[in-house]
Symmetry: C2
């Protein structure tokens, strides 16, 4: 039986990997077709230009297509499933952390997210399709592992063993890893992403399965995309974004100092986060009605097209066409020339990133790159947080690659001989890493993702150093963008470690008390009243007081709300008040069939006669839950919560009597503030 269960887990991971890859390939191909048709249609009108008025034709055509596309994307999100907005990484981060975010892993969310991102990217906004892939992988994992869908009201009755929060979360971490693997062709990075965001306890066999899911996903995507590109077994597309080959670009040891300097130029990333924070607060206050959200998206789309068009029109950076240039775009340039600005503004962001990494020295001029850098930075800041699915990776990479390349060009301009500094493309890569690290502040997984995406192990140290400095410099000013968005929604996220200088805080300071306890054999009426009056999720079960009232209240176990709901719904209490035998025996499947949406207590009808009956909670409660003494320090409780994935921790006195209960919220509230007053602060936390 154990082996059967284990094989099922592997099989589910295989399905997750392959399904995620199929979705990723579908998204990639759709965007390729839609955006490709759009750009070639618009470009064909550019070619026919004769006078000043007719150049407005491609402009309005371009704008019209983009507006239609982003309108569709916004409608799907606003009226379809609002949680599909954004990159989805903050939501998945919360989910893996143990917070239940509503709707985040539903099939409908997946649908809105996937179709939405196709239109958002094809619509030319400053968004990437990579972040949403991670969310998509997670939804796939949650759906496949449960073998049933609430949206479709179908239950395949397979994988019923996996219908617990714990198992489902394990699969979702595999799905997130598969998503990363699909997005960047980085299976190891995917595993580390899942560990970094979700894991608290190192689980060897789970990690191994996660790795399997992400490897399968990357491989399947590789086969599908190779097949689409006409060369089935070339296996050259392990991910959606491909940084291209960096072979032959070496760096000198002393350039590491320059890379560090690029990491230290941290002001702009903190600025990105700060500006986006302000915009998000503004949006939360004023732009909340559906129609307003859609309007806002359209306005930004028009702004994006206009700025792009103006940049191409004004910055006439015409370069002679050579054999090294792929798909040269003539646009406003003379014959035999192509527009270098268009290679940045008039293509999908992925293509622009590759151009910045690999374009020959001197093929993009200073005057093209500087406005591009500024414009894209502003557009990215405005775009993240709109009511459309929008990945953050590509905009950051693109803005970073632009200023990185500028930095490199400046160095080449200064140096007497060209060999002193490496190629500008390498500086673009480092700039992209610095920008990305400065905005999202991920560390280990990001280094590995970028290493895998460049296929070059010698870039490991520079990438790592630049990400470390970017994070450290950025952390002086504010938090990572995902964390900012999580905080704005007051989610009780537990970070990796307890906040510093918190060891003086004791369990008795943070616990909720007086605590509502249940007796081992409880009266049904009292139980109903307690459940209806309190919205707590976990209840300590205690021995009732004996006649002498000396011993008693002793901690015996913990029972959670959903279990009580199933017990009451199935009338698992005695048939009449004086009986000892329950009317119905409850099986494990009774709990599994209800998962994950249990009946509300208010919807359970209990007659007055039933209220007199009693229920023995001992067979159902957790008989040895974790507990701490009231002297226990905050870091100690924090480690228990994180290491063991707890949701409730009962606090007892020296004689094992319940004195309080601690939940995630109580711990998530404390945070060390390194920006303002350098002390512990209490955050506002809502319960979800």
């Amino acid at each position: 039986f154990i082996w059967q269960l284990e094989m099922k887990r592997w099989f589910v991971m295989l399905l997750i990997g392959m399904t995620t890859a199929a979705i990723a390939a579908g998204v990639d191909i759709c965007i390729d077709v839609l955006a490709g048709s759009k750009y070639s249609l618009v470009a064909s009108y550019f070619a026919h230009k004769v006078d000043d008025i007719s150049i407005l034709i491609p402009f309005f055509l371009w704008m019209g297509i983009d507006v239609v596309f982003v309108f569709l994307a916004a409608m799907l999100v606003v009226y379809g499933e609002p949680v599909a907005a954004g990159s989805g990484i903050p939501q998945i981060k919360c989910y893996l952390n143990g917070v239940l975010v509503p709707h985040v892993v539903r099939f409908k969310t997946l649908l809105c997210k996937v179709i939405g991102i196709i239109f958002a990217v094809s619509g030319g906004l400053a968004v990437g399709k990579e972040g949403p892939m991670i969310h998509a992988g997670s939804v796939v994992a949650a759906g496949v592992s449960q073998g049933k869908s609430t949206t479709f009201r179908r239950d395949l009755k397979i994988f019923r063993d996996f219908r617990t929060d714990h198992e489902k979360r394990d699969f979702v971490s595999g799905g997130a890893a598969a998503g990363v693997a699909a997005a960047f062709g980085a299976p190891i990075g995917g595993v580390l992403f899942s560990l970094e965001e979700g894991a608290s306890f190192w689980n060897q066999s789970l990690t191994w399965r996660i790795f399997f899911a992400s490897m399968t996903c990357s491989f399947t995507l590789n086969v599908l995309l190779s097949y689409y590109n006409g060369n089935p077994w070339s296996l050259s597309s392990p991910g959606l974004i491909n940084f291209g080959e960096f072979t032959g670009i070496d760096y000198h040891g002393y350039e590491i100092l320059l890379f560090l300097l690029m990491g230290v130029i941290g002001v702009c990333w903190a600025a990105f986060n700060a500006i986006n924070y302000k915009i998000t607060v503004f949006r939360m206050k004023y732009v909340y009605r559906g129609s307003m959200c859609v309007m806002e998206v359209i306005v930004i789309a028009i702004l994006t097209v206009s700025l792009s068009f103006l940049s191409i029109y004004l910055g006439k950076d015409c370069q002679p066409v050579t054999q090294y240039v792929e798909n040269p775009l003539q646009l406003f340039c003379g014959d035999g020339e192509y527009s270098a600005s268009a290679s940045l503004f008039f293509s999908t962001p992925e293509e622009s990133v590759k151009t910045l990494f690999h374009a020959r020295e001197g093929s993009i001029s200073f005057l093209t790159l500087l406005p591009f850098c500024v414009i894209y930075f502003l557009l990215a800041t405005l775009t993240y947080g709109l009511s459309i699915p929008s990945g953050l990776f590509i905009p950051c990479l693109l803005a970073g690659a632009a200023w990185g390349r500028l930095f490199g060009m400046f160095l080449h301009y200064l140096s007497p001989t060209p060999e002193v500094f490496s190629a500008c493309g390498l500086y673009a890569l480092i700039g992209a890493a610095a920008q990305l690290g400065g905005v999202i502040r991920m560390t280990i997984s990001l280094t590995v993702i970028l290493m895998e995406a460049t296929h070059n192990i010698t870039y490991g140290l520079p990438l790592m150093l630049v990400l470390i400095t970017a994070k450290w410099v950025g952390d002086i000013f504010n938090h990572g963008l995902y964390d900012i968005h999580i905080e704005l929604h007051s989610v009780p996220l537990l970070h990796w470690g307890p906040p510093p200088v918190s060891s003086h805080i004791k369990a008795s300071d943070v616990m909720n008390h007086p605590v509502v306890t249940l007796n081992t054999i409880e009266n049904v009426g009292r139980l109903m009243d307690i459940l209806l009056k309190n919205d707590h999720n976990g209840f300590p079960v205690v021995d009732p007081y004996d006649e002498t009232r000396i011993l008693g209240g002793t901690f015996r176990g913990l029972i959670i709300r959903s279990q009580l709901s199933v017990l009451l719904k199935n009338k698992a209490f005695t048939s009449w008040p004086t009986s000892n035998e329950p009317r119905k025996r409850i099986q494990l499947d009774d709990f599994r069939n209800e998962y994950p949406r249990f009946t509300e207590i208010a919807d359970i009808s209990i007659t007055d006669r039933e209220r007199e009956c009693s229920i023995d909670l001992r067979p159902f409660m957790n008989p040895s839950p974790y507990s701490v003494s009231k002297e226990a320090s905050l870091p100690r409780m924090f480690r228990l919560f994180r290491a063991l994935g707890l949701r409730h921790l009962v606090v007892t006195d020296g004689h094992n009597r319940v004195v309080g209960i601690v939940t995630r919220k109580d711990l998530a509230r404390y945070r060390y503030n390194s920006h303002r007053n350098r002390g512990l602060e209490e955050l506002p936390i809502v319960s979800i």
Copy 2:
């Protein structure tokens, strides 16, 4: 203060990475020089051969040099530091798991290991230098982080904050990762190795620092070796073993089934482990005297040389020299030809591995490869466990690459057109992975190490699949070789998860009882007697009974032996029997200065008058240690031990009174036996 400590930790990791790299580079260069001189000297005598007698000159010269080299290696281990034998990975695995293996991280061990491995590899034995690098990195980490050395009796008085088991172990995991990074040029693999072997709780900032250490190490080694090879910034040697460039070798989808088949041919790996197990048991019984160990090493060295020489002599596999052959060795062949057998038998194992991976199709004949495969397999089985430092990776890679290449050659022989199957070199790689996975049964880290060593992400899935099947097939027959050696030494190692079918075992079944408890205010005489009579390491502290003898025995805290030793040594008790004030205030530094070797209780002199005094343990004990009720199941306790790195867990009854204590040993004893009776078995465990 927090930031200062954090910066110190990063600085120590930097030192660890750089020192490990320097040692690795030193070892590599020494072996290069010694083995290079040896082979060129012997080869020069081959060239002068005129008749049958004179070919014995190079044979005896070769044997003589090898015997001297391995004699030196064996002397260092047998009379220097016996724990330096073997690869050191089992020892480091135990250390990271929380078991204190004596002498394993001492400077003397490092010295014997490093010099020993140079001579063992130069002496032509079937050993690799990669495993020992991991041990070397760990010792470096332990030494650097403590800022003092017991061997040198020096205390630099820096990094005193790091003088706890916990901090030291964190640095050792960084050192082990740096060792892997140095050995294979696999910094990510190094991090995963440390996590796989050591981590239980995912610690973000520690993982990040480990990554830094391994990245620094790989980079520094790269610079040092590039400099040694005359091209300072080519940065082409990230590790000691380099698999060479596999570019352009693609595989077809259907070949994955063949790779799986290679994974299933699992009998020989289980055989490797089984044979080595028998040999090790034999050695433990009969070969334990120092001189016998040295003799044994010399015998194996003579056997190795004789078999190699015979293979070259008898298997006259002469191939014409073309421009693709590096360093062709003529030996017994005619002019314009070179000996293909010599390219395998007459070079360092690393070179032979590269030959098998990259030699042109047909350049090594079937009749050379088959005997090589068999001979090397046998030599590797005999060699691992000798009293010399000996890595297991390279022998496994080499034996596996040999049969993998054979398998590939067989397929090519069968196929009508050459394009049906990939290059033999790829089959050699897969065979190497299968063999390695089958012998050591590591999973995640091994996949990543091999992926990084091949620099090719598309090999990820085949490598992973082959490692999974190798592990699964192998696990049917026996355990991984490291685990076999750990079990033979009866070490209480806690694996990643609790054994299956163990949830019926309760704390009251496994706990030690009656348990020796101390009172909160304890009489010095009684304390001394208890400490001298028992060798326990941890003592629960309880409230003394009150007059009514009803309440009392209540659990208050836990104190460990080393703390009591410091307290008694510093006479931290009252000046006279009726006083309440301790004679001396104990500071944190009093504990740190003693670390890690505390005074034995028997060496502390306590006068009869002092025996009458009392000591208040409350300020020193851990006031809120983890405890479980006696109903707690084995898996629950197991998770607490693993997740929180516990050494003692106090078992209490419903009223918080101490009823027993559980240690690692009590949990490590239970193991699910999947090979024989498929049930739980109890292992013999010794305390260390």
